[in-house]
Amino acid sequence: MKKIIALFALAMLVAGSAFAETSINVNGSTTVLPIMQKMVEAYMKANPDVKISVSGGGSGNGIKSLIDGTTDIAMASRAMKDKEVELAKSKGVEPNQITVAIDAIIPVVHPSNKVSAITLDQLKKIFMGEVKDWKELGGEGPVVVISRDTSSGTYETWEELVMKKERVFPGAMLQASNGAVVQAVSKNKNAIGYIGYGYLDASTKGLPVDGIEGNAETAASGKYPIARDLYIYTNGAPKDAVKNLVDFILSAEGQKIVKEAGFVPLTK
């Protein structure tokens, strides 16, 4: 009840401070997009007078629109490059980096698979199509590689942290969502795929990478190799409506949404 009153008060405050409708533009990384969409949905429900439009054009695109002043918040799955920071400063934009979540990706196999550990190098070779049989890793049967559609953020993370500029070979079966990968891997004893940490359950077996098990702690501490921070950028310290939204994202409630979207929430 207290929460409802607090929310109501917040809503009144926002409504009071901004007589007209406020609108916020969010643009950038497709990895952060699913978090932001859920976040904005919940936020607009509580604050109906704030109109937020979210679009995903990739990290570079989001940062570019922040520099051009066409967006209020840029989502990014990587830190801004020095060149971008320089360009921003030359245009009078003061980029302000805020970490909103951690993305940890877990390689998964069928629960009956004998392989119980894997290295980054082996993963790369499997996804390049060089390792074709589980025998090479101590299991048995042909390797069936399941990857994600190339436009998904999970794929982007995987490509950057595991493939390191190499391409996933064309014989990989592409699935359209984390859920579909779980489904496909759990139905196929030869399969290997990768999913966001939040989708790991008993139907698949997550493999530790380079001896480190992927979980909330190892991802947050940076020990787990297939994890990265996800950011949003604002122009200077966030103000007014943007500040309210950022505060919501970093609040306990907001971080719960991060977890629901399949990512690792920030631990404080």
Partner: protein, 297 residues
């Protein structure tokens, strides 16, 4: 008074004309939009490399926009599913139109039509959860989500189309032709094979082509059960990625008006050309072999 009645009639005619026009306008607008959004990709990649390039890596840096594996996959699933669906559909149609008694016909026909009413996502789900594990275990395959599985599921969907259109064609063969054949001493089977089938060939061909164009454009089933690997298949057990599933899976996350977005629209154009050709061929055959009444005296 008479004038008012005439005016009213005219108005009603015009109203119906407008209604008929609306679907043409809709088709026209869709085509214009499809081409407007698809053509810009050809500034980045030549049409030849687009159609015959064998790598589809739309988000790599630098990207590759070669859709040959996708075209090959679409053609392969269509051919294999036709190989399953044509005999099934046509033979069912012959049974229904020529052999079955009224009671059998009254039972089979609604059941076949019910198959057509099954939502494609349900068929896809069946393929994913039931057929895929079955195929994988029976043939000891690396994966059950493959060309064969997709073709079987697509055959399920085109059988009703092929069956009901062919049945109409067979049913409408003039009675006089059959009676003449039987009167000359031909058996029932000889009459079906040598008289009824040739006479209804144009209708059956139309049915087959309509069934095929349904298979090539179907999205949900291939998205769920074809496996989604963008490579040219070398066996019917290879996973494939037909054109519609690529569009459906990637469009949501392709940056608006980016190269990837335009490339997906261009795939849409290619698909459109495929179905257009199918329809033109169907119309041509139907026209050329038209049965113009029975030759009665």
């Amino acid at each position: 008074m008479a004038l008012a009645r005439k005016t009213k009639d005219k108005l009603i005619q015009n109203f119906f004309f407008m209604m008929a026009l609306s679907s043409i306008v809709a088709l026209g607008l869709i085509m214009v939009y499809l081409f407007m959004e698809g053509v810009p990709i050809f500034q980045k990649v030549s049409p030849f490399n687009f159609l015959f390039g064998s790598y589809w890596y739309p988000t790599s840096d630098p990207p590759d926009f070669g859709i040959l594996p996708l075209i090959a996959a679409s053609v392969a699933v269509t051919v294999v599913s036709s190989a399953i669906a044509i005999p099934l559909g046509v033979m069912t149609a012959i049974y229904l139109a020529e052999i079955a008694g009224t009671r059998a016909r009254n039972f089979f026909k609604p059941v076949v039509e019910l198959l057509a009413a099954l939502p494609s996502v349900v068929i896809g789900f069946f393929g994913m959860v039931v057929v895929a594990p079955f195929l994988q275990e029976t043939f000891d395959l690396p994966t059950g989500l493959n060309l064969l599985n997709a073709s079987i599921m697509l055959a399920f969907m085109s059988v009703p189309t092929i069956c009901s259109v062919s049945e109409d064609a067979i049913y409408s063969v003039p009675r006089e032709l059959k009676e003449a054949s039987l009167a000359l001493g031909a058996t029932h089977w000889e009459t079906i094979a040598r008289v009824v089938l040739p006479a209804s060939l144009s209708g059956i061909s139309t049915a087959v082509i309509l069934g095929m164009s349904r298979a090539i454009g179907e999205t949900m089933v291939v998205l769920m059960v074809a496996g989604g690997a963008a490579m040219i298949p070398t066996s019917i057990f290879d996973p494939v990625r037909p054109m519609p599933s690529s569009i459906a899976a990637e469009m949501a996350e392709a940056p608006f008006r980016g190269d990837h977005y335009h490339a997906l629209f261009a795939i849409g154009v290619v698909l459109f050309v495929f179905t257009l050709v199918f329809n033109i061929v169907a119309a041509y055959i139907a026209d050329k072999h038209k049965q113009v009444g029975a030759a009665t005296l």
